[in-house]
Symmetry: C2
Subunit: 156 residues, 2 copies
């Protein structure tokens, strides 16, 4: 059992609550930010990206990217210290042998995305985190080890 006010519980609440992430990719002129829905798969993060989007070509050239998952903003609350995860790591296409399983995991989390799998330009990627930083609020930040991460997302 995790304590209700622990950082571990904070990470799990965030991951349960938010289904989108923000990518930081290396573009021709400099860093670019984009949004993508995501699903956890083991310790990795699945992304279903369109070949028409700029992040797709950026990733092909520079697969080491930044990824943020942030507590959704609400009108009534202060937006200053929203709990959030900032990750860095390498993104790569899901290999053919793992595709069916990964697709099922992705669609279990994001059933509305099913029609997009009929488009030839979309491809399923997996992001493997190397560095993970947690900000639980103002002045509450910490590095999360890969072992801690794997335990939190239930794959150790």
């Amino acid at each position: 059992m995790l304590k209700a006010d622990s950082w571990e519980q904070g990470v799990q609440t965030l991951l349960a609550q938010s289904r989108i992430c923000f990518l930081s990719t290396r573009g021709k002129q400099g860093p670019e930010t984009s949004m993508a829905p995501y699903a956890l798969h083991g310790g990795n993060i699945l992304l279903h990206l369109s070949g028409l989007a700029k992040h797709f070509s950026n990733i092909k050239t520079s697969p080491y990217i930044g990824l943020m998952i942030c507590t959704p903003e609400t009108a009534g609350e202060s937006p200053l210290g929203l709990p959030r995860l900032s990750l860095q790591g390498v993104v790569a296409p899901v290999s053919d042998g793992l595709l069916e399983r990964a697709k099922a995991v992705y669609l279990a989390r994001l059933p509305d995305a099913e029609p997009l799998f009929a488009f030839a330009d979309f491809r399923l990627f997996q992001f493997e985190p190397e560095h993970i930083h947690w900000v639980g609020g103002f002045g509450k930040a910490r590095t999360v080890s890969l072992a801690q991460w794997r335990k939190l997302v239930g794959c150790s």
Copy 2:
């Protein structure tokens, strides 16, 4: 008057609704994503950043950054096509002569941030967009010219 379903109205609704943005900065190992509250000031975007945060040192080295403003995710709605703006441009400290005015504009939008101005490590920056891309939903994307942007945010 803008049409209620126009892309211009979509941009204005987003800017009224969301008070946070996601930065893409160039870190030592690669692109990094972070979150910051923002306020519009003319055609620029004000950011109040802590010198203890990684994006602060990243910006000092590489002031050309990416910035995204995204419609907040809600539990009941599909997260796939959330309307969003992706901008790229240069970020720089607000000059001394403009500081009081910029601080007033920032605090009018984010009154909770007032105590942070007492911390010596925080500094007010302004981001000046050079490229602006609008995604209004699935398949609804367009480039926004700087003239269009300035008109939309009421400074032309």
